[in-house]
Amino acid sequence: MANPRPMGGPGGRNRHGYQKPKNMGKTIKKLMEYLGRSKWLLLLVAVCLVLYSVCTIGGSYLLKPLVNEAIIPGDYTKLAQILALMACVYVAGAGFSFTYTRIMVHVSQKTSFALRRDLFAKMQTLPLSYFDTHTHGELMSRYTNDIETITEIMNNGLASLVSGSLTFVGVVLMMIITSPLLFLVTIFCLGLMFIVVMTVGKRSRYFFAEQQRDIGIVNGYIEEMIEGQKVIKVFNHEAKARQGFARRNEAYRRSATAAQSFAGSIMPAMGNISHINYALTCCTGALLSIYMGLDLGSLVMYLQYVRQVSQPVGMISQQINNVLAAIAGAERIFEVMEVTPEVDEGRTTLVNVRRGPDGTLEETEDRTSHWAWKRPDGTLVPLAGDVRFHDVVFSYVPGKTILHGISLYAKPGQKIAFVGSTGAGKTTITNLINRFYEIESGQITYDGIDVRDISKDSLRRSLGIVLQDTRLFTGTIADNIRYGKLDATDEEVRAAARLANADTFIRHLPKGYDTWITDDGGNLSQGERQLLAIARAAVADPPVLILDEATSSIDTRTEKLIEKGMDSLMQDRTVFVIAHRLSTVRNAKAIMVLEQGEIIERGDHDSLIAQGGRYYQLYTGQAELS
């Protein structure tokens, strides 16, 4: 039955080509750990498999007495007995077969469930640098291709591999017992089969690698060109695109034809060698029967074995490729699972506090809107929002330093703005406050505590961030706003939306707050999505707020409308703002002008203008033109 393959995103297709596992032993060991969780069931599977093979071979074995003792002499009692016995054996065989396949379905689903769960949970702990260096398609393909391959091999492959081997060995044994002489013929043919499998298999692997490479090229071309299709139209590049595609398509056709020809030839080759085997056995058997008194029953039985013995050979050769592919897939999955997760050894946590009657702080389970840092020794430090950078040096890629010794401070309740051109390091600074990345040297403190001593969850919970590009989740508008505070009431959600001036457009949507968002909010404009992101941060009500180009896609008129909301959102909070519109940053307590990873100017608007430096130039660039 065709196993439906999920159609992942564009990156979901297998672009890795044919890959051999690198460290098979280690991967198998890990895979075994997963399978080990069902060891009793697997034991049962093993028992069923053995019994099933015994039944299959036994059923054929009964043919001999059936022909010799019942059919030829016409002994009906014997016939009834043997047939009844055969029926029992067959029913039992079918029963065992059903049992082990059914259990394997359970085991394989359980295992892939666990693999998916662990992989996803692991993914959540990976540092951002991992996502920077690996494409989404690559990670998606762990779920869509690799786990799928493993499930498939467990669903069918593994058991049939074992049962195939068992049947093969059993049948060979029975053949030897039945007629050692005839077995010589069989050995010859089996040897032939092995040679065919090995040589064709080797050639076909080569062509398969070519095919995979070419399909990767074709798919890559399709992806890139279809995504740029509008540019192709604008530049009249259609004919060129056609030619380019035709060339790659043809290369793929050639290599795929070769690969598929080889792959397809194995089965008829094997099948017919088995027929030759059958023919030779038949003749030899006939001669043996005439000259050496081989009974007819044995011959008939032996011929039945000949039919049975070739099946597993073909099957095993096929499954070995699948098993290798599955192990390679498992290896890729375990590679992800072995990536070092985000460093998080901070033990200072964020707790809700209440002022005791004597003015001291005490920890509480209640949701007060007062927070404090709880140090490992139990002392409480009230959360104020005092963030300081001391000589911070940072690079995304070792050797390419982005920030060269940045020092800055934000006192509680201050609004700090960063300006500077792309690549100056504005977003990087905010990425370091919430520890998306680790600094190389220097120190960042938060209310006097080194951020490395604060548990990451607590640190991030204390910071509200509106990121440069808004990401929304499939769900309702309300769900998306509530992402900031999972237990927010409807009223809180609405209040946050009003604050962000999103309430108006939301109420104009067909279903208001219950409008379903799909495809990352593709049906909303960039500006509307940013308003939602602001609402999402507002509902979280964090002590410190980071706005990274939060209003860049909102036109200046709308921005004015939300200004009031933003102001009340920013009131009494430490706020870091990145914006290219100077209007957004003008009222900041301190403006840092960044250039190539260094703060070249700092001060408030007026002092910076008075200074007549870079900020002044930026500001007057417009004044001069107007």
Binding site: A94, A246, A269, A286, S583, L618
Partner: protein, 578 residues
Amino acid sequence: MIKRLWPYTKGYRKWIFTGILCSGSEAVFELLLPLVMAAIVDDFIPVGDTDAIFRYGALMVAMALFSMFLGIAAACLAARAGQGFGANLRQAQYDHIQEYAFRNIEKFSTASLITRLTTDCNTMQMTLMMGMRMLVRAPVMLVSALVLAIGISTRLSQVFLVALPLLAVVILSIILTVAPKFKLLQERTDGLNLVVQENLNAIRVVKSFVRQDFENEKFEGRNTALRSISEQAFGRVVINMPAMMLITYGTIIAVMWYGTPMVQAGELEVGLLTTFFTYITQVLMSLMMVSMIMMMLTRSVACGKRIIEVLDERPDIGDAAADPDARVEDGSIDFDHVWFKYNTASEAWNLEDIDLHIKSGQTVGIIGATGSAKSTLVQLIPRLYEATEGTVRVGGRPVADYTMEHLRDSCAMVLQKNTLFSGTIRENLLWGNEHATEEEIAQACAAACADEFIARLPGGLDMDLGQGGVNVSGGQKQRLCIARAILKRPRVLILDDSTSAVDTATDARIRRAFRTQLPDTTKIIIAQRIISVMDADLILVMDDGRISAMGTHDELMETSEIYRDVYQSQQEGASIDG
């Protein structure tokens, strides 16, 4: 569907027919073998006719060899035909997509077009390949095995009257109950993948809001649902094999029971009886095979339908009314009371009554809020969309008069969401004009202010951009796109918010270069920043699909409230590169 897709087998039909012939004959040969075997067992062993045994043995080997030849030939032909068909289908789709207008592309969405070109096409070629072998083999096997079985003994063949319907019922009931489960399985797989995809996209959001546990829980829900439906679906599927085994063996036992008296009565020989077993297995196996093919076909039909949709889609805009000799003589642009809507079924207009006349060589600025249809307006000029009512003229003639090639060669446009392709910078620039000289490239780069950073890049013009131009920054990418458009030496140059990531000073230099280097080209500039348009000859203020005001900067400051608003909101702080 077959009728619709058949043309794409062109060039491979002879392989299809020969392949089918080979496949069918192979099956027949395979079935004749046991008959020869029966002759040896029944006729020659009892009389000890060694010669005949050798003769028949050699015959069997010859038949097997021949059948092997046929089988391998069938496999190779099927591969050739299947891959050829797939390649044709892919090419046909791809070629047809090249004809698509923007509206057609949007109708399908990029992701879905990609799926149709890749996964769907691969499924179709696989179907033909498998079909040529299995679809031929199974019925041939079924029929010939039945015929041969009846030939051996009509009486014994009556077991099929019971076995066949029984197996058919079992298979059908499994297929029928499993099909909806597989559909659900597919949906839940998609659902699970969606969560993963969204998490990958929004990993920063998840981390900043510390929602790992929440996401894990969400995933756990999807994962559990997927597991349960998979177990149900596959649990049902595995009944197939044992059921098939039971029926086969049941039939064999019945045949022995009824066959023994016949052997006793001399109506049947032992060899033929075992041959009969073989046919039983063949008949039932081929029925199984048919059921598998059916499952495969239901999937293929869905894929085939999606491909046909792409092939049947009629390009929205064509050259039917064009005069092949018409050339754009100058850069004047006229909109004569143009109305436009993206969706003809919708009531609201996206552009309402646009009446606009631009002289050749003018610089025109367009500003307006997001969603005010600025991009829509300019996209009508190179006929990326067709005006619903009214006429758009370029160089004095309606745009439909020109072939699209000539029109778009003369009207260069830098799209808002622009793309660079993998390859070097030079290769990308040559899209504008593949015969451009080194000097022309240098000029274009200078005009777009791209020369300064290109000189600093390793390899300069020959630096590899990587897919989607990932190796350059947003502002650099925009400047390259502008240079690429300038290389066309167009009559009309349209920039749709193409300098948003470029800092103000560079932006100003680019505009200055346009004035001096492209004096005869009509320049249309959509911008967010007023400074980008304020020195234009004509500025349009768009509001909700209408031209709310037009004039020079000074005029608009007098007459347009929106313009004044925007101007003032930007005056409070200069805008610098973000």
